[in-house]
Each structure stands twice: as C-alpha cells, then as structure tokens.
Symmetry: C2
Subunit: 255 residues, 2 copies
C-alpha cells in the first residue's frame, strides 16, 4: 500500500488520496517543515494575486523559501497541488436558508454564492481547463477530482431539489446545468469582455470589418452598437431562463 513503486493506475488517484485525507504521513525520518495545507494556501494567494498562469512549482516553492523539488514530498504533481488549492479556495458549503424559502430562492442563492466565491478567486473556474490541456489525449480527468468541500457544495445544491418529484439523476443534471452557466458567465464578469462580438476592440478594425459584413451578419452588427453590460446581462438572463425551465418541470411533476 505504501510501497513507493505501487503507482496509481491513473494520476488522479493521487489527488483523490490527498484530498480526502487518505495519505498517511510517516512518523519516521526528520520532521516535515511544511504541510500540504500551507503549500496550498500560498498557491491560492499567488493565484488570487497573479492568476493561474503564475502558478508553477518553482514560484510556489520560492514564496516559501524552499526548492521546487521539496514540494514534491507533499504533492505528487502540479495537478495534485491545484486540486488541493481548489478545494481550499472553495471552502465550506454555504447556508442557503430554511427550506421554507422554496427551492428556487435557495438554488438561486447557491448560484450567487458560487459567483461570489469565484469573484474572490477568479482562477477557480479555470482550474479544470488547465488540467485538460497539458495532459494527453484523455486528460487527467474530465472535470477535476472533487475534494470534500466541492462535493459538499454540490450536495447542498442538490438538496434544494429533493422532494420535488425529480430523480437524483435529474437533480444532479439540474445542478450541473446551473453550474455550467455560472462557469461560462464567470469569465465575462472577471474580465469584463464581450463573449461574442465581432471580436473588435479597435474602432479602425471594426470599421474595416463592418463595411463588408453588415449584410452578412445583420443581427450581430446591430448588436455591436448596443451598450448593455454583456456580463451582467448574460448571467441574469441565463439564470432566469434555467430556473424558469426547472420550474416548469417541477410544476409538471408535482401536479
């Protein structure tokens, strides 16, 4: 079990062990100067300040005045470090208020609380994306391995939907639906950019393109002139539609 060469068949098993506290530290040898927790905290601080791209083993180690390779005594790979950072940053699941408030209110609260958390740690929704790219054809995991905190958040969300005639599978699908929307609109909020424009930051470029493309893309061209806040709009619009759709289903099931 603790045989060093008994490597996990997939990388993510390591992250699993770590996240769920299944890695037993030995009592032999010199005392450990650091802890996984401490390393992860530093990582979170760096990512908060400088973004996910600033996270490298070197950088994190330097912040702790240790060498890069020292971190590998605590964490088997960068992916593991990110997993722990993620669960740490997510933190404890929220209180959504009493069930009497109704599922819609509570689920919407959940959504806005996630949004708030992601505003504090804008890199959070991008962690899973990172994992997908450096890996091979099949990434380490599709979505990352979830730690206890993240699972607790999801559990909290699904609990708002129990007793409404939805199957557990449907409950999870619903939470996934909301969460995907949150993730998609988060980047817009963080960076304040249009999700889809003609891709035109420069007036000059805009004119040159618009000239030939107004008939080709009538709706989008008309839209380019609008002055709405796209991030706020997309988030609120989508959330309202999703909740409406869920309400329709629940009404049908409860009827």
């Amino acid at each position: 079990m603790a045989a060093p060469d008994r490597r996990a068949p997939q990388d993510y098993l390591g992250a699993l062990e770590l996240l769920w506290g299944l890695r037993q530290p030995s009592s032999l040898g010199p005392k450990r100067a650091l802890s996984v927790r401490q390393i992860a905290e530093v990582g979170v601080a760096i990512a908060d300040a400088q973004g996910l791209a600033a996270i490298s083993m070197q950088r994190v180690a330097a912040e702790l005045d240790y060498t890069k390779m020292a971190l590998y005594r605590y964490v088997r790979s960068k992916a593991e470090l990110l997993a722990v950072m993620t669960d740490l940053a997510i933190g404890d699941p929220p209180d959504l208020g009493p069930p009497e408030d109704g599922w819609r209110t509570r689920l919407e609260r959940w959504a806005r609380l996630i949004r708030a958390t992601w505003n504090r740690h804008p890199w959070l929704p991008h962690v899973s994306e990172w994992q997908a790219s450096p890996g091979a054809v099949r990434p380490v995991s599709n979505d990352r391995i979830m730690g206890p905190n993240e699972v607790a958040w999801v559990e909290t969300a699904t609990s708002t939907l129990s007793g409404l005639g939805m199957s557990p599978q449907e409950q999870l699908d619903a939470v996934f639906l909301v969460s995907a929307h949150l993730r998609a609109t988060q980047a817009m909020t963080t960076y304040g950019l249009l999700p889809w424009t003609l891709g035109l930051p420069h007036e000059e470029m805009l004119d040159r393109l618009r000239g030939g493309h107004e008939q080709r893309f009538p709706t989008l061209s008309r839209l380019a002139a609008s002055t709405h806040d796209p991030a706020h709009s997309a988030f609120e619009f989508g959330l309202a539609r999703i909740l409406d759709g869920l309400e329709l289903l629940i009404d049908k099931r409860m009827r």
Copy 2:
C-alpha cells in the same frame, strides 16, 4: 502600417487580421512555400488525432517537414495558429431548415449540429481554455477572437430568434446560454466520464470513501449507484430546460 515594430497593442489583433483576411502578403522576396491554410489543416489533423495537447509549433512544423521557426512567418504566435485552426474546423454555418419549422426546432437543430461538429473535432471547445492558461493575468481574450465561420454560426443561431419579441441583446444571451451548455456537456460526451461523482473510479477507493460519507452526502451517494448515461442525460436534460425557459419568455413577449 506594415512597419515591423508597430506591434498590435494587444496580441489578439494579430489573430483578427489573420482570420478576417486583412494580412496582405508581400509580393517581394522568395515565394512562400506554405500557406496559413495549409498549416492550419495540418494542425487540425494533428489535434483530431492526438488532442490539443499534441499541438506545438515544433510538432506541426515537423509534420510539414519544416522548422518550427518557419511557421512564424505565417503566424505570429501559437494563439494565432489555434485561432485559424478553430475557424477552419468549425467550417461553414449549417442550414437549419425553413423558418416555418419554428424557432425551437431550428435552435435545437443548431445545438445538435454544433455537437456533431465538436464530435468530429473534440478539441474545439477546449481551444478557448488553452488560451486562458499560458497567458498573463488577463488572457489574450476571454473568449477567443472569432473568425468568419464562427461568427456565421452565431449569426445563424440568433437569426432563429428574431421576430419573437426578444431584443438583440437577449437573442445573443440566449444563444450564449445554449452554447455554454453545449460546451459544458461536450467534455462529458467526449470522454464518457461523470461530471460529478465522488470522483471514484476505483471500487476500493469508493468503498473507503463511501463508508464515512454516506450521511454527509446522501443525495450524491444515492446517485453513485445509478446507472444512467450521465453525458446523454445532462445534455438532453439541460437543453430541454433551457428551451423551455426560452419558450416561456417568448410566449410572454408574444402574448
């Protein structure tokens, strides 16, 4: 204009020029042996076969029997290459059938056609994610710069929603909503993994975790036993709810 040191203020302007055909190739000097198109085609082939992680300037150049640096005569950065690859792989926008078929049918067709395209090029939805990570605090662009083909797809989608009492902004928000759901469920389809499990591929690990966590995560634990196809379920469930939500809005507006 062509002064070499007049660098674009943001990197993405380069991609813009390239995608929209605003880069004028000079008539002087030796003939170009390659073309951006040709390079992008090779890139697409590699990404299709080996995933996005297999795309490196070195790899693409090797496939063409040229040196890595030669590609930089055609493309200013890897980000530009990916942008061109993306637009190439997306291809021409689809035919959604006559307007008489109704907005819901046509929009749903659009969604399934995107899904089909992404099944052919599973790396497509991950391109924007790639861009986010190696960049600085603020990525090259939130969503990537869109090429003509991608813009055309979006235009096609928004066109299904015109004349239904929705503002252009709302039309775009709606399309964004559908698209975000597609993107989120795509990875599940491609890799066939649960989006959210307890993160347990191994029975052994599952048991060890489940032991202590059944009361803590009742809904999810119950779910771990279910045998549904999570990818199909999440996609269909979410799409139905979104379209229901949109229908509700449209009904209200048209009443």
